[in-house]
């Protein structure tokens, strides 16, 4: 939550709202990779890429 609040503050003060989708996308990808390396979701990741 703290991260989201800080990130929103950052986008607001820097007026860089267009960064949001990129960061969200990267974080999702990041989580998928971490998750995939230790669970059955690995097959899903391989299908995606």
């Amino acid at each position: 939550m703290e991260f989201l609040r800080d990130f929103l503050d950052f986008m607001r003060s820097r007026k860089k709202y267009w960064l949001a989708p990129i960061v969200i996308f990267l974080i999702i990808i990041g989580f998928l990779f971490v998750f995939a390396s230790s669970s059955a979701a690995g097959s899903l990741v391989y299908t995606l890429f």
Partner: protein
Amino acid sequence: MIILGLSGLYHDSAAALIINGKIIAAAQEERFSRIKYDNKFPKHAIQFCLKNANVSLSQIDAVCFYDKPFIKFERIIESHIAIVPRGLLSFISSMPIWIKEKIFFKKLIKEKFRELGKIDWQKTKLLFSEHHLSHAASSYFVSNFSESAIIVLDGVGEWATTSIFHGVENNIEVKKEIHFPHSIGLLYSAFTYYLGFKVNSGEYKLMGLAPYGNIDSPETQLFIKKIKTDLVWIKSDGSYQLNMDYYKFVSGNRMCKEKKWERLFNLKKRFPDSKINQSHCNLAMAIQEVTKELIINLAREAKRITNSNSLCLAGGVALNCVVNGELERLEIFDNIFVQPASGDAGGALGAALVTDKIYFKLFSKITFSPYLGPEFSNEYIESTLKKLGANYEKSKDVTKLAAKEIYNQKVVGWFQGKSEFGPRALGNRSILGDPRSKTMQSKINLKIKFREDFRPFAPSVLKEYASSYFKIKKESPFMLFVYPLLDQLTGSRIIGDIDFQLKNKNCVYPSITHVDNSARVQTVDSNDNPSFYKLIHEFGNLSNCYMVVNTSFNVRGEPIVNSPFDAFRCFMETEMDVLVIGDYVLKKELQPKWTKRKKIELD
């Protein structure tokens, strides 16, 4: 008010502690971890600072990190988008560490602090200062100027690579910035890379190589012309622009496009530890000349904007003491101050000062000494020496004894008091020798520090005698300005290849002067470092030479020694003759057998 400043996670992590406006302690993580330019979270440095001040984590009012990770992330994303589809591989390789931890930096810091002890983040503020503001503060607030122009020059922080600030009392206002990828630091690093040295650590070798070049040779002049027409465009307002067609640091993992550079200079990229020829020296001189021009232009612009009589320099490029010396001689400003920990380690001190002066608006006069690191009692030193089975003698006057050994052409390891903050050994963690000796430079370089023979050593000279040897008008307590030796102490410049020049220096003090008869001078004041002052004075009484060779107490590839154990190990693994550590004196021939460690790594 207890404030802890932190730097790191890129390179050269450090911590600095300020209590009620007084700088209590500061240290680089590398000194404890023994990894040069260690970039990990500075947990040992924090522990040292807190222990030194006898405060606990829970008592800290604010922790300030020296840059803003979100803005850095923004820069990485934007600069990669600007060159799409190039740079895809570099983007993919840099993202995991960001997604994994750096973007969640606040969380990371809190986790790291949890490993150190209990801290209440409701009470303790966690702040982030801008990278160049931290650098600016690290110099301006310790300079004792109440008003000053400030120039920050480094590779890159968040976006800014070059900044002009104006400091007035407790305020620092940004006046002008040049943004990534246009950067003097990265330009210099590109040449460091091209000439076969390691980026982020070999820049000072490039600076040391430059004087072997011949400024009058047509090749050097051609190199200068090509750099200015193809690699960097210098503007009349002090700004500049890199021609990105020649660089690869945004889109790849290399500094420059070697093939294009080879075509431009008609010179092959030099590989590490391969032979250095005259063209390499000429190219080093060319980039040094261009860097000098860039910085002088910026200084003139800073003067125009601020109309100040004083200048503070900070950032890694401010360690280019050849340029600093030239700036002083030009007298654009009456006073120039450079803080000894000018690189990223100093950012920790800067972040703490930004918090103290700008965030909390505390008005206290800061007194600065570079001796901010760990200190060891005689009891501790003796118990360490006993454990190591060393043969030692206790002396009531180690300065006299050390001076006599130096006079007898011995190389002395000198370990006293608190260690220095920053890359320079200023007389507390130093290797000392006789500056009059013709062989001392070679002996210390090859047999003690195991480093390249071409690299010169610096003199530490008593303040009141400095002008008897050098063309110097002001103090230089931190060894950050280069001055020429007096004309009567030098002969004409020797022309020839690097080995010939090195072996045929034409001056009275060959061990401390470069081939161009210049030296990176440290002036020693009796109030700043009484025991070091006394040692040089004793040596002067014997030799009538009131200066010594002073180089950092370490070997190639290792950080400066931190503890008595590090000092003893360095002493035993090199051909150093004598070690003076606290009140104890150790002679090499009396020591037990010592097993040598692994091969020295390149730095």
